[in-house]
Amino acid sequence: MRAFTYATILWGVVGMLVGLIVALKFVWPDFLGGISWLSYGRMRPLHTNAVIFAFVGNGIFLGVYYSLQRLLKTRMWSDGLGWFHFWGWQAIIVAAAITLPLGISTSKEYAELEWPIDIAIAVVWLAFGANMIGTIIKRRERHMYVAIWFYIATFVTVTVLHVVNSLALPVGLFKSYSVFAGVQDALVQWWYGHNAVAFFLTTPYLGLMYYFIPKMANRPVFSYRLSIIHFWALIFIYIWAGPHHLLYTALPDWAQSLGTVFSLMLIAPSWGGMLNGLLTLRGAWDKVRDNAMLKFMVVAVTAYGMSTFEGPMMSMKSVNAISHYTDWTIGHVHIGALGWNGFLTFGILYWIIPRLFQTKLWSERLANTHFWMGTLGIAFYAIPMYWSGFTQHFMWKEFTADGYLAYPNFLETVTQIIPMYIIRAAGGTMYLAGMLIMVYNLAKTIGKGDFLAEEKASAPALVGKSASLREGEYWHRWIERRPVQMVLASTVLILIGGIVEFVPTATIKSNIPTIASVMPYTPLELQGRDVYISEGCNTCHSQMIRPFRWETERYGEYSKAGEFVYDHPFLWGSKRTGPDLAREGVVTGKTYKPDSWHFNHMYEPRSTSPGSIMPGYPWMYKAGSLDTNSTAAKIKGMRKLGVPYAPGYEKRANADLRAQAEEIANGLRQGGLDADPNTDIIALIAYLQRLGTDIMKDPARSGEGDDAIPAPGGTLNPEALNAPAAVPEAGEDAFAGGAETAAMP
């Protein structure tokens, strides 16, 4: 437990520091620039993973190990398993801290780690669960307090989420492709992504709240009855809400609607928990005035209430149309992360450390200083993000009196909000500075204390006390005393939502109408797509045009579900720091740029777009950076996942790759640019120039699909290499199915 305490503090500072670096890159895009492993696209997932899984993760384990033993009046089941859990989790964090900056990423938000690390996560998580359930089974208190239900729900749900969302086919030691494609992948990812918030950032912390607030206030929880009701309602409803991350996208409407309905229902159980936490302090508010720990807890629970009201509001379609892709979402999640998770963790640390070291907190005054710096830091972070979000939305959608976009250049909408990014960075600095004060205060506390290694608090064994129902007792009492049944009941409840939403999307063909002209990527485009993933381009650029006039005017035809059937993984993105790229390659489109523009832009974005805050990617121009060793394995892997590459195509895929790369490089050289075909930038250009072109490619063929649209003006993609017909050798189809059978894998 002491080890988890130190790890929580260490990773908290690291995670927030990386967050601050990332925030500063919005203000000074060249800050730490030119170094691949410090680029924004790689640092951003490092920040989110460090805060969620390293800081909050260790905070959960710390709180669970502390409270579980005391609530059950027994020692943890296995010390050995506990140490395996601790060192395993830290090793996973270190592996993430190495692989993510190296560009080893799956691209799936909060699940970016590649398959070997995913397996390690599953093993270590199961070790944690086994230790927890073993402890519950050998407990010496008959009843399981409500906090423990939350811990159990966390364990079972995170297991299910992690396993399903991580299902991927390895094509190399550190490269895999999601088994799901396009819309299905998006649904699974946001089922996971939303419930990572629900069952990693919320339910375990509710359990901690139910233990630590009564403890700190020395008062029982306001309403135990309310805790029962809100627990079951929360875990049932939460699992359904994932599709609200995909409103107005190509996800089927019914799934979007389910996501909205359940998200709105979530207000009730969420606020049940929030009110229960705050009302526990009734009659004890005088303690809040004098006690920094309780101040942290009060703001934490208030932040939980704010974000769980805001979340359902943002899930309403009309509100989501405004908030999605904007900084509003960033403000929203940071109220939760900095306020709810951060402050609750700080409160717990201030509570636990003096007790572990049998002393008093070194300085209550410094703790108060930390509290106020943190609170102001959150305000300075969140308010500019809300301001920025609304500014973005209204600039994106504003039309002139003549019916043209008022701000056709996306860059105008970026430079407008840079002052907000400056204030945000200041807020982050204040929050981090407060944390450093906490570190100093706790280090001093530890220094003057004496560590209490063993606390003799085991109760007598529960000999002869059956968990069976007694006369006059009801079914819930039966479940409350039986951990295995509790695990099963929780699992069934959380599976219902996932199954009802996912199975029809995967099995009913009409949910994902196919488009005959949509073809697999050429080998060079596939490698370019992986460069896009590796550099984290999807952290700033979406590939999903929503069916709004202001989006179709700016980007072109709205996105169709059938366009993504070969996208393992999907790359729709969730934020538009830069413009959407879904129709980037359509020559007659609104966002098209020639190869030379991309070549110059990616090297020094401000050379083509003055004022841009995009970083440069000079390492993509390094001779030999293009990976051709993995092409065959990638083609084979994709074919196993249902992408219709012809059998044996992997043997000549690199020849096609080189031909296409040579053609792009030649075109660039003719324009006077020093282009090398063996570089990542050439592959990335090939991929970008392919985006959105399939449904515009061939009017005759695009009319065959269920969901096809007529190609405007009969446009044809001039990039011959984009057409799969260029790939096969004489008399042989490169892609087994051809246009007519290119169906959903």
Binding site: L71, K215, R225, L258, A457, A459, I496
Partner: protein
């Protein structure tokens, strides 16, 4: 618009409705059970975090 949504739901409408029914039945059972808990048991459960004794 709601008609379009219903049309695209295929058999999903029935599943979702059934699930909601399951939820509300379960929810009512939980409410009923919480309501019928004895005050002494509730008091014992509420006090669990406050009790660090080894008894």
């Amino acid at each position: 618009m709601y008609k379009d949504i219903l049309r695209t739901m295929d058999a999903e409408a029935l599943r979702a409705a059934l699930t909601l029914a399951v939820f509300f039945v379960f929810f009512l059972m939980v409410v009923l059970d919480a309501w019928r808990k004895s005050n002494s048991e509730i008091k014992h459960l509420e006090d669990l975090p406050l009790d660090d004794s080894a008894s």
